[in-house]
């Protein structure tokens, strides 16, 4: 009974701390729920999506009929009911209209009945695919009809037979895997395979067996077994998991980012929990001391205060999980736009239970230290005799080790990568270590500054007031700001690399092999402004007269100097290029051949301005000096060139011309047909479908990323508030003394805001430096994307943070300022 009142009143008395504490718990649980649940369902979705991209669980590729060993192994599995099989044959062939008037290179897919196991072939008519694709019939892509001038119901000569065009295929689940193709799709039923009579000696056919595994858990095992039967060079056995695509690669990065943000938010929220609890118990210190004086043991005190902590924690848990579920749903809706509609985006209950358990762990972890500190409260503090109790060190060590283990475990569990777990924890520790060293240093310098102005002097003095936790506040603030800045920077970098790379007006048709003599005619034909890129193929033979070891180069897994490069010539930078070394593209004071190289080349081999590269341009040697080093600002589908020369150098070299253009999707087929007719040697690559899918997807993902940024910002604001609150008590006393001594409100306000400003500025600058370093490392070594510092917006965000800190600080001190000193003094039971 007495307990209930006590708890209620204690919470009410420190309602602000309690609310903050509750919010911190809620935040950590929200992030946990969202991440455990959401990333679970996203990766589930992605895997299912990956299944659709491959239309099967296991995919066996070969350029021959399957070897007997593999075939019988598959048959065995089918007989045992473990798998289903559907085969298809894919190859290029020239198809012609029945009247032989037009022909077009097409990509044939001869499919068996079961195809596809996952996903669905959507036909323009909406009818089921296999109802339409019966023997003697064919289903084709629209662009084929456009290019042949044919329509539904017309006959099509394919191989040695004639098929009737029955429908138009709108989408094909496993098409995106092969983004580039030289011709439109033609579907043929496997029953017509013999009639086509195209599979003969010398034919180049891709034989694919799609396998669907009855028991999902058996996929890897069965694939492993089949691999043993496959002949290593000729037959490839993949599961939908192992086959990587660019989309998957991106989504991997994306999930990695989300998880990183989630863990960061958790850390921030954890720090918030610790901050608010410490501040909370600081306020309770006197009560605790009285209790001890009366003879309460440590355990009894904990028993009294536990509910005071647990209640807001419980409330926070409920709040956090509810918010997490809502967020999950919202995100699911966002994602579902580009994921297949039948994908269940159910709330991941396991994720919720897991996050509950984790949430308790987090709360316990971050409550440990403040609760333990209770033990160190000596009853004598009620006499205000001994202010700074020397803290014992072991609890700090224990909790530090606890944090490290916990987060290492968390990172490891989510990233499934031991090395990354180490990196993560190491960098986190480094972050805190470096911050505290720098803080110490900066404070040391500040202390020694001689400042004339009283306001400034007082503010700086305030930083060093007895018992003030300036250093720990700065460390915490810096750590959390670093995290927020990092997330922001990472988001910006991901956005630039991926999202902005797919603008709606990106070119969707690439035209290659235009002859120089055709350029003008082609330009007139297209009737839109085009950029023509001359391409000269060449190899690099030596750098600074040191011959390139081609074999060693090719042994490198990355891009290397052993391959053939496309050189070009022009005198200006492309829109997405900038020079990072050298003053301009080419030097005016050099007369011998010059070359501007892309920074990617410098990554392959160390080189610098003035170094020489020897090329072999189709048999002819050319030595050029490096005049500048360029970098690309985006990672687009757009053209880029490693080596750019002056026109005079390459004018005479054999070259073809490349260009990219933007054409409305429905006009693509028609235009392609006309280009082929007018410029038969020119090849057109249609990227429109791919680009469209990417662009839409990127937009969705960017929305989600932004959402998480906001979440982390919220975490940051919370910790900010809690940090300011942590020092509130000291400031109250000070303001009272200022006022008693006759200082006006303005003076007090100035001193406080300046003090907070200094704290914010130090933290902000430190955080900026550290987040830049961190994001650089992450971009460079984990995501492998280009890194941009975004200095301007960073400056802006530091400014905004400062404003926010000062704002929060001011708001939290308003009540102090308004308080009459007398009332305060009366409340303060002093000797």
């Amino acid at each position: 009974m007495i307990h209930g009142h006590f708890i209620r009143r204690e919470i009410a008395r420190s309602s602000k701390q309690a609310i903050l504490f509750c919010l911190c718990v809620a935040l950590s649980l929200t992030s946990l729920t969202v991440f455990s649940g959401f990333s679970e369902s996203v990766s589930q979705t992605l895997l299912t999506d990956a299944k659709k991209l491959h239309a099967a669980d296991i995919i066996v590729h070969s350029h021959d009929k399957l070897s007997d060993e593999l075939d019988s192994a598959i048959s065995d599995h089918i007989r045992q009911g473990k798998i289903d099989r559907s085969r298809y044959w894919e190859f290029y062939s020239m198809v012609r209209t029945a009247d032989d008037q037009a022909s077009v290179l097409s990509l044939l897919k001869v499919v068996e009945k079961g195809y596809p196991f996952y996903g669905e072939i959507v036909l323009k008519s909406g009818r089921p695919f296999h109802d339409v694709l019966t023997p003697g019939q064919t289903v084709v892509e629209q662009s084929l009809l456009d290019r042949l001038g044919a329509g539904i119901g017309d006959s099509l000569q394919v191989g040695y037979t004639t098929l009737i065009i029955r429908d138009v295929v709108v989408s094909e689940p496993d098409r995106p895997v092969n983004v580039f193709s030289f011709g439109p799709r033609v579907f043929v039923s496997s029953k017509d395979l013999d009639a086509l009579s195209l599979i003969r000696t010398g034919s180049r056919i891709t034989y694919v067996s799609l396998l669907k595994v009855a028991d999902d858990r058996q996929i890897e095992a069965i694939a492993g077994r089949l691999k043993q039967f496959a002949s290593p060079d000729r037959e490839r056995v993949d599961t939908y998991r192992t086959a990587r695509t660019r989309v998957k690669r991106f989504l991997d990065n994306f999930i990695f980012f989300l998880k990183l943000v989630g863990i960061f938010i958790l850390i921030i929220a954890g720090m918030g929990i610790q901050n608010t609890l410490t501040a909370f118990f600081n306020e309770k210190q006197r009560t605790i001391a009285i209790m001890k004086t009366i003879g309460a043991t440590h355990r009894q005190i904990i028993r009294y205060f536990m509910p005071v902590v647990v209640l807001p924690a419980l409330l926070g848990t409920v709040l956090g999980i509810s918010a997490g579920i809502i967020l999950q749903q919202g995100l699911a809706r966002l994602l579902s736009v580009f994921f297949p509609p039948d994908m269940p985006f159910a709330v991941a209950w396991i994720g919720i239970f897991e996050s509950m358990a984790l949430g308790i762990a987090v709360v316990a972890l971050f409550t440990f230290l403040p609760l333990l500190r209770l033990k160190e409260v000596r009853p004598v503090v009620i006499f205000r005799k001994e202010k700074a109790v020397p803290h014992k060190h072991w609890p700090v060590f224990v909790s530090a080790i606890g944090f490290v283990l916990f987060f290492f475990g968390l990172v490891f569990r989510h990233m499934q990568d031991l090395r990354f777990g180490f990196y993560f924890v190491a960098s986190l520790s480094a972050l805190i270590l470096v911050t505290s060293i720098f803080t110490r240093l900066l404070l040391w310098i500040l202390k020694r500054l001689r400042i004339r102005r009283m306001v400034v002097r007082q503010a700086i003095k305030g930083l060093f007031r007895q018992g003030n936790a300036t250093r720990s506040v700065i460390v915490t603030l810096t750590a959390s700001l670093s995290v927020i800045f990092s997330i922001y920077l990472l988001e910006q970098n991901l956005d630039t690399t991926y999202v902005k790379s797919y603008p709606a007006d990106a070119p969707n048709l690439f035209v290659i092999d235009i002859q120089p003599t055709q350029q003008e005619a082609f330009s007139n034909f297209i009737e839109q402004p085009l950029i023509f890129y001359p391409i000269v193929r060449a190899r690099v033979t030596a750098i600074n007269d040191k011959t390139i070891d081609r074999r060693a180069e090719r042994a490198k897994r990355r891009d290397n100097l052993g391959r053939t490069f496309n050189l070009t010539y022009r005198h200006s930078l492309l829109a997405d290029e900038k020079i990072i070394k050298g003053s301009q593209l080419f030097r005016d004071d050099w007369t011998d051949p010059q070359v501007s190289v892309l920074d990617t080349v410098v990554d392959m081999h160390k080189m610098d301005i003035g170094d020489t590269i020897r090329f072999n341009i189709q048999g002819v040697p050319l030595k050029a000096r490096i005049s500048s080093i360029r970098t690309r600002t985006t990672d687009t589908f757009g053209p880029y060139f490693y080596f750019v020369f002056e026109k005079k150098t390459l004018k005479l070299a054999p070259q073809t011309i490349f260009t990219a253009l933007r054409v409305e999707k429905h006009r693509v087929g028609l235009l392609q047909g006309r280009i082929v007719k007018m410029f038969p040697n020119v090849s057109v690559i249609d990227l429109s479908a791919t680009i469209q899918v990417f662009a839409r997807m990127m937009k969705q993902l960017s929305t989600i990323i932004k959402g998480f940024c906001i979440l982390s910002m919220a975490a940051g604001i919370l910790i900010l508030i809690s940090g300011v609150f942590a020092t509130r008590a000291e400031r109250i006393t000070e303001s009272v003394y200022y006022k008693i001594l006759g200082a006006g409100k303005t003076f007090v306000r100035k001193v406080f805001s300046l003090e907070i400003f200094i704290v914010g500025l130090l933290s902000g600058i430190l955080a900026l430096v550290m987040s830049q370093t961190g994001v650089f490392l992450i971009c460079r070594f984990f995501l492998d994307i280009a890194y941009h510092p975004f200095l301007l917006s960073c400056g802006f965000i530091v400014g905004a943070t400062l404003l926010l800190i000062i704002g929060v600080g001011m708001v939290s001190t308003i009540s102090i300022l308004e308080k009459k000193p007398v009332i305060y003094l009366r409340e303060q039971p002093d000797e």
Binding site: I2, H5, F6, R9, E10, A12, R13, R286, T287, I290, M291, K292, T293, I294, G295, A296, T297, H298, R299, Q300, K375, R378, P379, V380, I382, F383, K385, E386, P829, D830, E831
Partner: protein, 227 residues
Amino acid sequence: MAILEAKALNKTYTVDHQDIMVLNDISLTVEPGEFVVITGSSGSGKTTLLTLLSGLDKPTSGRVFIDQQDITGASEDDLAPLRNRMIGFVFQSFHLIPSMSAMENIMFPAELQGLSNAEKKARQLLERVGLADRADNLPSQLSGGEKQRVSLCRAMINDPKLLFADEPTGNLDSKNGRIVFEQLVEMKNEQGATLILVTHNPEIATAADRVLTLRDGRLTHKIQGLG
């Protein structure tokens, strides 16, 4: 048998790397039922002495025995039952727990001990000091005198053998001060407890069995009053 004994107590504070000696070689013995006043000018270290004698703080050197038990090396948790059952405190600034009502504050030590009749006992005490109608008020709703009477009840609820009072009337007007002081002495006598009281109020000092005067951290023994 002495209920309280101090041997060669020293207390030094370190401020800005400078040692300040607050108490210097203090030894004393208090017999059961005695009423001892510690007095001295401001800053003479009398409150510090009280904290050392009551085990709220540890001396830099020297030993304190309560009921023959050496408390100098005891941990906070070892001291807790001792404080709870043996000792009662009354402070100048009351130190009631702000989130507990008068009643709850008084009951608290008994509850810590796990007494079942805590409420009954608390009510009796409240009646005794004439505050029965204030039982459910929070400390912030009580006047200074009322607060001090509540804290007196709290100090007495576990029938302590040792009472420590630190300027119990220091924050009160003379009328309330007298009431509180009288009630304190009354209760002490009824209980047969020992009272150690810090004050610089000479009026109170006259009521003591013995007055110890502190000057610059040293004790100057002075017998006064009726003895």
